[in-house]
């Protein structure tokens, strides 16, 4: 019998020992030593047509196995977005094409015996480009005469308002209540535009994949991915071969944060293996990962928010313009969150409207990044709410207290869902105490001439995609009664293998050590949509609960058979099946071993789970910053956050998720910025030019939990992975305003912008 519950215990991650001793468990460590090295020739132009491509000299380099161009690939379009079929993202890609849509788009694939030969061959491919004018300004993309995707075989599988002849990847409109009336009744209206930039997920392991034919002559692809099962479909679409001929395996992966929710690297080595029959490996450089990958969608968000003079928020109108870049991966879906996961923080408003356009441009394709559109919307809403508070001459914390969603509230802008579990009010109250809001708001002048101030922001997210995502889990009983837990969700370092084992342990009343977890292999793992959309804890967790319930019944039933009694006469306590009358019992160990001898009852269960709703986690974040008014430099001194993720399954892992998300959010707030020159060439092509926060840049971060109980989640849990990135940009921007009266509406909050704002205020 398990004395301590495993759920809510801060146990170590199951794979920790291998990870802290540097064991070879990642994709590149596992690749066959003699596999072909694959590299990509990339376009130097933002928009161009390949008129001629000559590979003869490259093919003559000793050791070169193959050079592929657009003439060699299948001609049906697909998307690299890791989404459930039919994908919302348009089918707008080919493996190789004669049209180059951004600097870094792929012009040719080279495979050879070693890196030196491949590098040499890349230099010898002669391409004659017809350079076209690119569309670089996303504000001018819609209905521009220059089209990013003029092709006729472009297609959208879902009705998302896409039109390639207008450079439109998607558009949406939704509203509730009488907007005009609500604004007419508002005493104060704030209407401002906020601009968030594209950001890189910057996981430490770049994109990488290797592939080979296995003993059954099936294409096997090992890849650093969050979407193991979707990769199988994407490869089938791209390579034009049946899914039954493809197997995808996910080893340990070195971080994802959404980047690996797009199949950025898989198609290239897979194509090489398919064509040559040989094993092949592609490891993206950091430069490629910075310039030809799947970063956050740049967005311009216009918010109009009206309130009475007492501070009751009456109406919110939000328009988002999203830049999906050269391809549409996650374009139609990210933008939905921009409105639907920001407006409902204030669901007491009588009316709302959310409209958006998603446009193609000739910069690198955007993708999924933690927060997935909500981050952009929340920067806008949470900045605007502070602006409203200042217009009303109110404490922004007070304004929020008056208007936030509370448990039981209906959230019209969140597809009419009700907040069944919501501790946002408690999160806000507690974070105020943690940062000492009442004493520190708005600012203090320090002896060294600097100004310290505080800023606040709230956030929400979802838990899985409602009515769409699925998760299945299989558990089986092995000799001596240890369990195998098989999942299709990808642990990307976050520890889902461990927390799912914790849940299984409590369901099966044993220690987590008694449960073995397997990584994902499409041939053997049960189906799971994948590790994205904050779904694993909530959805796969519930699948664990259901599966364990079924398995327990099977154990009881087999136990009853062995005890020669009826199933309703026995119970299971984790260690033994016993008659409720205590007449007879059999240990799990004996039962398990007997099950392998003259038995026709498989002690094996598999269940699938899905959810019609997506219960939001909530969060409050508070920044204390120190600003040097002579230079405009903002330093984060402290960051405090309180999260309501429902029941916390593993407090250590949940805390690190939160601290990590806040770290990324601080980077986004202060210096992370993908920028391009006038020709569409990235200025942010390395870690030297795209600066991530170091441990000297994040201040002191402290996190606490204020749990609600989500009735539809496993053990009352909701999600945590994504929400945690959302508060730093607005909280820091609000703190900057509280310190020096400068409102930064375009990220990042650079010292120069703040200083120029101070100067402008003085004039």
């Amino acid at each position: 019998m398990n004395e301590n519950n495993a759920v809510n215990r801060p146990i170590r991650k199951k794979d920790y020992k291998a990870l802290v001793t540097g064991k070879p468990v990642y994709t590149d460590d596992l690749a066959p030593k003699d596999c072909l090295v694959v590299k990509l020739l990339r376009s130097p132009h933002a928009h161009a047509l390949i008129e001629e491509i000559d590979t003869d000299r490259a093919m003559k380099v000793p050791g070169i196995e193959a050079v592929f161009t657009y003439k060699d690939v299948p001609q049906s379009r697909f998307t690299l977005a890791g989404q459930t079929y039919p994908e919302a993202s348009p089918y707008d890609r080919l493996i190789l094409e004669n049209r180059m849509r951004h600097v870094g788009d792929v012009a040719a694939i080279v495979a050879g015996e070693n890196e030196k030969a491949v590098d040499r061959a890349l230099k010898l491919i002669k391409v004659k480009y017809k350079v076209l004018t690119p569309v670089l300004d996303f504000r001018k993309a819609k209905d521009n005469e220059i089209l990013v995707h003029p092709e006729d075989n472009w297609k959208a599988l879902c009705p998302v308002g896409a039109d390639n002849k207008r450079n439109l990847c998607a558009r949406e409109e939704s509203e509730g209540g009488d907007l005009e009336k609500a604004f007419a009744e508002s005493d104060v209206i704030v209407e401002e535009t906020y601009h968030t930039k594209a950001n890189q997920q910057a996981m430490m392991e770049t994109f990488r994949t290797f592939s080979y034919f296995d003993i059954y002559n099936r294409l096997t692809v090992v890849s650093a991915t969050q979407i193991t099962f979707h990769v199988r479909r994407i490869l089938s679409n791209a390579l034009d071969i049946p899914k039954s001929q493809i197997r995808v395996i996910k080893p340990r992966i070195g971080g994802g944060f959404g980047a690996k929710q797009t199949a950025v690297s898989e198609i290239y080595p897979a194509f090489v293996t398919l064509k040559t029959g040989k094993s092949a490996k592609l490891v993206f450089t950091r430069e490629e990962t910075q310039t030809a990958s799947s970063p956050r969608h740049e967005m311009e968000v216009r918010v109009k928010i009206g309130a009475t003079k007492e501070g009751k928020i009456k109406a919110i109108d939000l328009y988002a313009l999203s830049n999906t870049g050269a391809y549409g991966e996650h374009g139609p879906t990210t933008v939905g969150l921009t409105g639907h996961k920001s407006i409902p923080i204030y669901s007491k408003a009588e009316a709302f409207r959310f409209t958006c356009d998603v446009v193609y441009t000739n910069v690198m394709s955007a993708g999924a990044y933690r927060g997935y559109g909500a981050t952009q919307g929340i920067f806008a809403i949470e900045s605007a709410v502070d602006e409203l508070a200042h217009r009303l001459d109110m404490d922004p914390a007070k304004l929020r207290e008056m208007n936030i969603t509370r448990e039981g509230d209906l959230m019209p802008a969140y597809f009419g869902e009700r907040a069944n579990s919501c501790a946002l009010d408690r999160c806000l109250e507690r974070v105020k105490k943690m940062i000492d809001w009442d004493n520190k708001y708005p600012r203090r002048y320090m002896e060294n001439g600097k100004i310290r101030s505080v800023g606040l922001a709230l956030a929400m997210q979802g838990s899985s995609i409602a009515g769409l995502d699925v998760a299945s889990v299989t558990v089986k009983v092995n000799d001596d009664g240890f369990y195998s837990l098989m999942i299709g969700a990808s642990d990307m370092g976050t520890g889902c293998d461990t927390i799912l084992a914790q849940m299984a342990a409590d369901c099966l009343m044993c220690e987590p050590e008694n449960i073995v977890v397997y990584g994902v292999d499409t041939d053997t793992s049960p189906y799971d949509s994948g590790s994205y959309a904050s779904s694993t804890t909530y959805l796969t967790g519930m699948a664990v609960v259901k599966t364990c319930r079924s398995l327990t019944e099977k154990i009881k039933s087999y136990g009853a058979k062995l005890l020669k009694c009826r199933a309703d006469e026995v119970d299971f306590d984790g260690e033994r099946v016993y008659m409720v009358s205590e007449e007879k019992s059999i240990s799990l160990k004996d039962l398990a071993n007997l099950s392998m001898n003259f038995n026709d009852n498989a002690l094996y269960a598999s269940e699938m789970h899905t959810s019609p709703i997506s219960p939001p986690p909530f969060m409050a974040g508070a920044a204390e910053v120190e600003i040097d008014p002579e230079t405009g430099k903002t330093e984060v001194i402290k960051y405090r956050a309180v999260v309501d993720c429902g029941t916390v399954i593993n407090p250590n892992l949940a805390r690190v998720q939160t601290e990590g998300g806040i770290g990324q959010g601080i980077g986004m707030a202060l210096f992370e910025d993908i920028s391009y020159n006038e020709k569409g060439v990235s200025r942010s092509n390395s870690f030297m030019q795209y600066r991530l926060p170091t441990r000297l840049d994040v201040g002191d971060v402290k996190v606490e939990f204020e749990s609600s109980y989500e009735p539809t989640g496993p053990f009352g849990a909701k999600s945590i992975g994504e929400i945690v990135i959302n508060t730093p940009p607005p909280a820091i921007a609000n703190a900057v305003y509280n310190a020096v009266g400068v409102r930064i509406r375009e990220l990042p909050i650079s010292p120069e912008k703040v200083y120029m704002g101070i100067i402008k205020n003085e004039d």
Binding site: P10, A18, V20, T21, M204, R252, G495, V656, E659
Partner: protein, 156 residues
């Protein structure tokens, strides 16, 4: 060109191209703990010890390592496990990809600095990037490890 060096205490001799990065040489020798996170000497993932000093193996010229003693995490398994337990107790091992370079530098720091305070720790480890943890869990682990080492030293 021929190169001879001591890798984790073992003599290694190989014929190499002089422009091969030390990092790749080490991976070729089976030292898979050595990871690459960038091409611009900026992430710290490839840190190894050359004559006891932490350096970036992506940058340090391979031929200069001729005749030296090189230590990767494979050669520090016991210490890695000891510190790693503190890291795992914070849940800060996470994806693990930056762990080897980070742990190498933590070990180098505890050997080089006496009683480092929080600022010393942050400064010494500033060249080790991590995108998962936000650094707080790593800091807690390092502080607890140092305290543990101190109490061991005091014979507690």
């Amino acid at each position: 060109m021929e190169i001879k060096l001591w890798l984790n205490g073992k003599a290694v001799r190989d014929d190499v191209s002089p422009d091969m990065p030390l990092l790749e040489f080490l991976r070729k020798q089976g030292m898979y703990s050595v990871k690459r996170g960038c091409e611009t000497s900026g992430c710290g993932l490839c840190s190894v010890l050359v004559e006891g000093k932490p350096v970036l193996s992506c940058t340090y010229p391979l031929m200069r390592a001729d005749g030296t003693h090189i230590t990767t995490l494979e050669g520090l398994e016991k210490e890695a496990e000891e510190f790693g337990a503190f890291l795992a107790d914070e849940g800060a091992d996470q994806c693990g990809f930056c762990n080897p370079g980070f742990i190498i530098n933590v070990i180098a720091m505890t050997r080089e600095l006496e009683n480092p305070d929080e600022e010393d720790i942050k400064e010494y480890l500033a060249g080790n990037l991590c995108r998962c943890t936000g650094f707080m869990g790593q800091l807690r682990a390092v502080k607890k490890y140092i305290e543990h080492k101190r109490s061991e030293g005091r014979g507690e």
